[in-house]
């Protein structure tokens, strides 16, 4: 299991970033794609906005952008139809694969 996956298992979304290039690296990698130096890790603010969404069976899912530019797919919990641009908070976990869940604020 990678550091990223192990942290997800503990409910923490870690972002790899390069101190030299001042840039987030996503999907997570141990090296910077620009300068090839070792990347560092920082915790996500766990807040994002909905870029696009759809629904499968009775559950919403979609593409959400967190931490200025990191886009991920996850399930969306909302009592009403979500909207693009809506602010969401993120919860994460990991079993055999990552799970990202987004909750629409003011639900």
């Amino acid at each position: 299991m990678t550091f990223f996956e192990d942290q997800l298992k503990q409910g923490i979304f870690q972002i790899s970033y390069c101190e030299t290039c001042n840039e987030n690296i996503w999907p997570p990698k141990e090296i910077c794609h620009r300068c090839f130096n070792e990347s560092k890790w920082k915790k996500s603010e766990n807040i994002g906005k909905i870029i696009e969404f759809s629904k499968k069976d009775s559950a919403y899912f979609g593409l959400v952008e967190i931490d200025q530019g990191i886009r991920i797919m996850g399930d969306i919990s909302s009592s009403s139809t979500p909207k693009t641009g809506q602010i969401v908070t993120m919860k994460v976990s990991f079993d055999s694969k990552p799970h990202y869940s987004f909750i629409v604020e003011n639900n």
Binding site: F4, W26, P27, P28, I51, E52, F53, S54, K55, K56, F61, G62, L63, I70, R71, I72, M73, G74, D75, T84, K97, P98, H99, Y100
Partner: protein, 368 residues
């Protein structure tokens, strides 16, 4: 740089049965070699196998199966566009002078592992292609006012065209209404909007100009090639566009010295209905906001210009064989050998094949 031609083609039927890859490879290869009158197996100097299957050493296995000892043999994997990547590698071996005749064979079994890219952590638990396809479809509807009927026409058209392709996976005509009322996968995707992973194999024999003129009376020339990879992870994409296709097309048109409106026939990568609308726009054949209308017009006038063999939706999608099968269709169309689905007066044909939500694209321009 040597010119390169397609001189032979062979395929198997595409099927939902989980076929044996070595057997399928042999069948399409046999059909391919037998399609060329003046060529023997021993003349083949390179054997490239395109697949997502986990079987090892297939280039050497296929070579031994057909009794040859080629200079070059290996496998090529690039998810859904493995086939065109293998063809372009074969082109490069010949144009550089490393080989004169190269066999390119693609194969897949229905239960291949090529649909899921575990590396892409940005997809979370939504790893199946239906999820990115739902995002692209929703975004297309919102930005270009694309209707569900326009999306359904892509599938109805391609199913109808596949009826005249005896090797296609689907042999059922589907009306627009049947597509629109087919099982709902997500709010933005129905089952008949999706191509289906299946078993099948397709093979092409490529030759240098000198050899092609000796062994074929109808060589089809690869005049333009464009390839572009913008990322591996889906979520790097802008949902409203397929940038890799746009860039690859520009390169291919430039190399072939043609314009989009010179294209008479095209096989485009309709993994899902929305992909055909996006592809024909990025290829410059129509505009994004007119793509639905363009396809409706093709359907109403029974014009088979786009995806005459039925595309991925109608013919099926054996990943490693798809790009090669698309190229065979355009080759046969330019040779006038497409029987019931033959389009008349063709000069320039195009093949568009892509991978992983359009993060990588290949475009080839063919000419007779």
């Amino acid at each position: 740089m040597n010119n390169v031609a397609i001189v032979g083609t062979g395929q198997t039927k595409f099927s939902k049965d989980d076929g044996d890859v070595e057997r399928l490879l042999f069948e399409s290869t046999k059909n391919c070699i037998q399609s060329v009158e003046n060529c023997e197996s021993k003349d083949i100097e390179g054997v490239l196998v395109s697949t997502n299957n986990n079987s090892k050493y297939l280039g050497a296995i296929l070579s031994e199966t057909i009794g040859i000892q080629p200079k070059i043999s290996h496998s090529i994997e690039h998810l859904c566009s493995s086939g065109t990547n293998a063809l372009i590698s074969g082109y490069a071996y010949i144009s550089s002078g490393l080989a004169d005749i190269v066999l390119v064979s693609g194969v897949e079994s229905a239960t291949n592992p090529g649909q899921v890219l575990d590396w892409d952590k940005s997809r979370g638990s939504f790893e199946h292609p239906i999820y990115w396809a739902s995002m692209l479809t929703k975004a297309h509807k919102t930005k270009f006012q694309t209707t569900e009927e326009e999306l359904a026409i892509v599938s109805a058209k391609n199913h109808k065209q596949a009826m005249d392709n005896p090797l296609a996976y689907s042999n059922q005509p589907r009306t627009i209404s049947e597509v629109m009322n087919s099982k709902q996968i997500t709010d933005d995707l129905r089952i008949l909007d999706c191509s289906r992973s299946c078993s099948g194999s397709a093979s092409i024999l490529l030759a240098s100009e000198e050899k092609a003129k000796k062994i074929s009376d109808q060589p089809i020339w690869i005049k333009g090639i464009g390839q572009k990879t913008t990322s591996a992870s889906f979520t790097k994409n802008n949902l409203e566009e397929i940038e890799s296709t746009r860039i690859a097309a520009k390169t291919a048109y430039g190399m072939a010295k043609v314009e989009p409106n010179d294209v008479d026939v095209a096989e485009v990568h309709d993994a899902f209905s929305v992909c055909e609308l996006m592809a024909i726009s990025e290829l410059g054949i129509t505009d994004n906001d007119k793509s639905g209308e363009f396809v409706r017009n093709l359907f109403n006038t029974e014009n088979r210009m786009i995806n005459p063999r039925g595309g991925l939706i109608g013919a099926g999608h054996p990943l490693g064989a798809t790009g090669i099968s698309q190229t065979i269709e355009i080759t046969n169309q330019l040779q006038g050998k497409s029987e019931k689905r033959q389009i008349s007066n063709l000069g320039i044909g195009l093949v568009h094949n892509m991978s992983a939500a359009g993060t990588s694209s290949s475009v080839m321009v063919l000419e007779n």
